[in-house]
């Protein structure tokens, strides 16, 4: 049974929950000084005065760009291990990766032709 292998994952989950809880909720309030002023309690907006509502409606076009980005972002995730193992994989690996890249390129061409890349 492989449950022993998963104990480490359980350990990580427990530690991951326990550490921030211990530091932020229990030890932190005891150690840190507390002198709230009006400026300190303001919403943090990169040093500027906060303006407007935080729940802004983004233009739907951002999502199309995000989707395009996602495809090529994942592509790089696959490219890294392939590049490291390039010499072992040889021509076979090269062809495989070429097919993968061509398929993604077709996706890019599709988006281009459908005017996804134009902001208007």
């Amino acid at each position: 049974m492989y449950s022993q292998d998963f104990i480490f994952i359980l350990l990580f989950v427990v530690l991951g929950l326990a550490l921030p809880m211990a530091t932020l909720a229990m030890i932190g309030p005891l150690l840190r000084p507390k002198h709230p002023t009006k400026e300190k309690l303001k919403t943090y907006e990169s040093g500027l005065d906060p303006v407007g509502d935080a729940r802004v409606r983004y233009n739907v076009r951002y999502y199309l760009f995000a989707l395009m980005f996602l495809a090529f972002d994942v592509e790089t995730v696959f490219l890294y291990p392939w590049a490291v193992e390039y010499h072992n994989l040889g021509l076979y690996g090269f062809t495989e990766m070429l097919i993968f890249l061509v398929l993604l390129a077709i996706g890019l061409v599709y988006a281009w032709r459908k005017k996804v890349l134009e902001w208007k």
């Binding site: 049974m1 492989y2 449950s3 998963f6 076979y92 398929l103 077709i106 061409v109 599709y110």
Partner: protein, 492 residues
């Protein structure tokens, strides 16, 4: 550790028809991007039809051949080949159906390659023997069909259907994946043949994990085949989707997930089938009852056919529940043969019924049963063929629907599960009642308006004739198909 690569040659020998279809889909996509104007609308879907016919011939040539390799991705066996043939025939009919849609209701031409990608996913579900490959096939089928359902971008109902299908389908996929993760956890492998060996003993060693995995997989697949109580999305999605896509969901999507259900469940959990077949049997019973009684209340023809497809999923679950019970090869073959025979008949009668519905509904601008009023006087040909498809769905003798139900009935009796056969028979009687409401509208009421005769595109006639011939052929000469099915060596 030596890793065995999946060479291109091995891949071709394992997944030839799928590769033909996938490459064709990419070529059609590029063609559609390069060519501008109306030419692509006319040509691209026909290219898809040609590619599907090519893949169909390829798949037919592989019947009887078995290819297994050291690489655990897929196998070529008769189970996969016969399902590929079923899926490709249905895909060709659906593509012709979509081509024939009237200009006013024509689909965006993206469908011509989206359907091919979905069919590739469906065929992978029937041939793959690795959990990862199976899941990729499932997602390829699912994600493409989410897009297909929402293809009428301007129609709120189409978008609503697409969103509902996206949410329900994603949850179902996640549930199946969670179930698969326990299989991997128990066996330490994603290869189904390894899992089969390990799972022989796992029900006694880790009963909790094994049953949890089985339950998650059955629930997820239950959503996909719209078995009760996981059917609630079906009527809304079927109603909102463009009609050819509805036919695609009802036939190809459902048949492919049945293939996944059979291969995955029998290979992983087949050792203890007598422990869980009862649950599947009860799901089949409530699916038959809810599907057929739910259809009684429907006035909208598309929703009526959606409920009828729920009921049909119930019929098709019966051979799945019983075919592993009696531990003989002949019993197993009989169960699977009855399921495949019914699936072929179901494909013809469902696509045919949806095709005629599409003609009538687009002419009358109405989805209701009333749209069929007096159809016999206005267009006897459409009324006659619709009557044939409906009677076949109800299970009238001399149609493929009757023979399919009879084979399922016999399979249930031979396995000693009389209760399933009795419910099948009883709910089929109920089915006559609601199909009769359309028949009554067609033959016994006067036409609402003296409107001009109905124009049916020539391609639609081809679809209707093919489906009608298929139904009658299966009904009058059932041995041509059942003989082939009986001689198959299902699994490699």
């Amino acid at each position: 550790m030596s890793t065995s690569f999946l060479s291109f040659q091995t891949l071709w020998s394992l997944m030839g028809p799928e590769l033909v279809l996938a490459i064709a889909a990419f070529i059609i996509m590029l063609y559609e991007l390069i060519v501008t104007g109306d030419a692509k609308k006319a040509v691209a879907p026909w290219l898809s039809v040609i590619a599907s016919i090519g893949a169909l011939i390829f798949a037919m040539s592989r019947i009887g051949t078995t290819v297994t390799t050291g690489v655990s991705v897929a196998v070529v066996d008769d189970f996969g080949s016969i399902f590929a043939i079923l899926l490709l025939i249905s895909t060709i009919l659906v593509l012709l159906f979509a081509i024939a849609m009237k200009k006013r209701q024509s689909l965006p031409y993206e469908y011509s390659y989206l359907v091919l990608f979905a069919t590739v996913g469906a065929m992978v579900l029937a041939t793959a023997t690795d959990l990862i490959t199976l899941y990729v096939g499932l997602e390829l089928l699912s994600i493409t069909t989410y897009v297909l359902v929402a293809l009428y971008r301007k129609s709120p109902r189409s978008s609503e259907g697409g969103l509902k299908y996206l949410i329900m389908g994603s949850i179902a996929s996640a549930t199946i994946l969670y179930g698969m993760s326990f299989l991997f956890g128990i066996s330490g492998s994603t290869d189904l043949s390894t899992i089969t060996v390990v799972m022989q003993t796992s029900f006694t060693n880790f009963p909790g994990l094994a049953y949890l995995s089985l339950a998650l997989i059955v629930v997820g697949i239950g959503v996909k085949i719209s078995a009760v109580p996981f059917h609630l999305w079906t009527a809304d999605v079927y109603e909102g989707a463009p009609t050819p896509v509805t036919a695609y969901l009802a036939v190809v999507s459902k048949a492919a997930v049945f293939a996944l259900l059979i291969r995955l469940t029998y290979m992983a959990f087949g050792a203890e089938v007598h422990m869980w077949y009862g649950v599947i049997g009860w799901i089949a019973v409530i699916t038959m009852i809810v599907g057929n009684f739910g259809a009684l209340a429907q006035k909208n023809v598309k929703r009526l056919l959606a409920y009828s497809s729920i009921g049909n999923a119930g019929y098709m679950l019966i051979p799945f529940a019983v075919s592993g019970l009696v531990k003989t090869t002949s019993s197993f073959t009989q169960g699977l043969s009855s399921l495949l025979f019914y699936l072929f008949a179901y494909a013809f009668m469902t696509i045919g019924a949806f095709a005629i519905y599409a003609v009538v509904a687009s002419h009358e601008q109405s989805d209701e049963v009333d749209a069929f009023a007096g159809l016999y006087k206005r267009n006897p040909w459409l009324a006659g063929t619709m009557a044939l498809f409906l009677l076949a769905l109800a299970g009238m003798p001399l149609t493929g629907g009757f023979v399919g139900k009879l084979m399922i009935f016999i399979a249930a009796f031979n396995a000693g599960q009389y209760w399933l056969g009795v419910v099948l028979f009883a709910t089929s009687v109920v089915a006559f009642y609601y199909y009769f409401s359309i028949l009554r509208a067609m033959f016994m009421t006067e036409p609402k308006s003296d409107s001009k005769s109905m124009h049916t595109p020539a391609v639609m006639h081809i679809v209707i004739v093919l489906c009608a011939v298929g139904i009658l052929w299966l009904g009058i000469f059932p041995t041509t198909l059942s003989g082939v099915l009986g001689n198959l060596h299902w699994f490699a």
